[in-house]
Amino acid sequence: MSSDYSNIKDSAPIEHRFNPYSDNGGTILGIAGEDFAVLAGDTRHTTGYSINSRYEPKVFDVGDNIIMSANGFSADGNSLITNFKTNLQWYHFNNNEEKLKISSAARLIQHLLYGKRFFPYYVHTIIAGLDENGKGAVYSFDPVGSYEREQCRAGGAAASLIMPFLDNQVNFKNQANQPLRYLSLNEVLSLVKDAFSSATERHIHVGDYLEILIVTKEGVRTELYPLKRD
């Protein structure tokens, strides 16, 4: 049996389907300390081999002392963060301006991501903040909402370059006779800078600027450092 479709299919093996995703590069990194948490990201935005922008921030202060980034396909990342902020505002309306706990924020994000299980947000999401006891908290998510609280996590293009370094330097993996301890903010900041300058050396989609957001009980503050632009 033949039809228009089968005729086309047999003669032309070219795929013309619209691809709704792209990869916009960049990498992010979250580390929790004893009474603080940081979430850092480079500001390079790419498609393919092109640098679209050298400064397109992707780590955001979303309110209630929570910082958030969704790295990967930036259109989905931006939408996810906007959606989160919208939900947060309704949470405030409905709960008399009550602050959203970071654990509740994490559960909310799971639902936002899983809600698009069959057309996923193509992003690696990380949030950071303080938990109910004032301890630093980092939560990381896969594209469809599986999540976990961790001491540290790298996401995005250079995640595979940074993560082993973090295992060694934050969780003291493969270091003999090194007991686990909290790192100070200064130690963490210098780790973050080293991680990003190294990733910039080795990964073409990472570079230009490093933006670090730091959460403490005083609030959120931002630091900006240059990275190599090549």
Partner: protein
């Protein structure tokens, strides 16, 4: 059941015979609603047909400059040579569109509709460039979510809500980014290096968006740089035209759209030595 994707789920004609529309006197109904029960399933745009090439844009002292040529290509054919791809929204906002021209016209109509709908209310607060950008990004992103994209890349330029020059990109996927120099399509390879070099010489810090950061760039210099880019694009982009428009929006002087500009001071001296440039050499 027919498993052919274009006729999926229907009784197979070769087994059951053609469907008899006279059953329950449905022939009359079918004739009336033929458009609803077409032979083929609905198809969305899978590729652009008539296309416009690069749009470029750069910020200066107290505004932005954008440029785009007037060509609508049909594949490699120069099909339409008088297409305006810089759409004025108001005296603070312009949208430069590349990609599919029919989708460009759809966007043009959406913007016109927005302008009309918002003028019904006696609200005296105008849309600024950043509002229009966000609106278009939502249009494009929701179309991509329906797997029925508007096949375009756009640059929205003008003055933003913060009363500073605004320049931001968005494309058929909903991907958006801002930069002091922007381009779509081929311009990313041909124009952006020139524009970025220009900005670097002016000592622009791309992390700052306030106009103070751009005080070194005069309108005339920026315009000259954009003209240079249009020339390079015409030299090297095969889907380009030597007729183009430039738009300038500044806080001081508002909007100025110049049409039918020609690329000047070109040198085709080299062409006479190259085969295939129509110089009579055959091999």
């Amino acid at each position: 059941m027919d498993h052919d994707p274009f006729r999926w789920g229907r009784p197979r004609d070769d087994i059951y015979g053609k469907y008899d529309y006279s059953i329950a006197n449905s022939e009359h109904y079918f004739q009336e609603h033929k458009d609803k029960y077409s032979e083929f399933p609905r198809m969305n745009t899978q590729e652009p047909i008539v296309t416009g090439t690069s749009v470029i844009g750069i910020k200066f002292e107290d505004g932005i400059i954008m440029a785009a040529d007037n060509l609508g290509s049909y594949g490699s054919l120069s099909r339409f040579t008088d297409i305006e791809r810089l759409i004025e929204f108001n005296d603070k906002t312009v949208v430069g569109i590349s990609g599919d021209i029919s989708d460009l016209q759809k966007i043009e109509r959406l913007l016109e509709e927005l302008k009309i709908e918002s003028s019904y209310d006696d609200v005296n607060i105008e849309f600024q460039a950043d509002n229009i950008h966000k609106y278009l990004r939502n249009v494009l992103y929701s179309r991509r979510n329906k797997m029925d994209p508007l096949w375009n890349s756009l640059i929205v330029g003008g003055i933003g809500s913060d009363n500073e020059p605004f320049l931001k990109y968005v494309d058929l996927l909903g991907v958006e980014y801002a930069s002091p120099a922007l381009s779509t399509g081929f311009g990313n390879y041909l124009a952006i290096p020139i524009l970025r070099k220009f900005l670097e010489e002016k000592g622009i810090d791309e992390t700052k968006t306030d106009s103070d950061n751009f005080r070194n760039i005069k309108e005339e210099e920026a315009r000259k740089c954009v003209l240079e880019c249009m020339k390079v694009l015409f030299y090297r982009d095969a889907r380009s035209l030597n007729k183009f428009s430039i738009v300038t929006i500044s806080k001081k002087n508002g909007i100025k759209l110049e049409k039918n500009l020609k690329i000047e001071d070109m040198s085709w001296e080299f062409a006479k030595d190259i085969k295939g440039y129509g110089n009579g050499q055959r091999y």
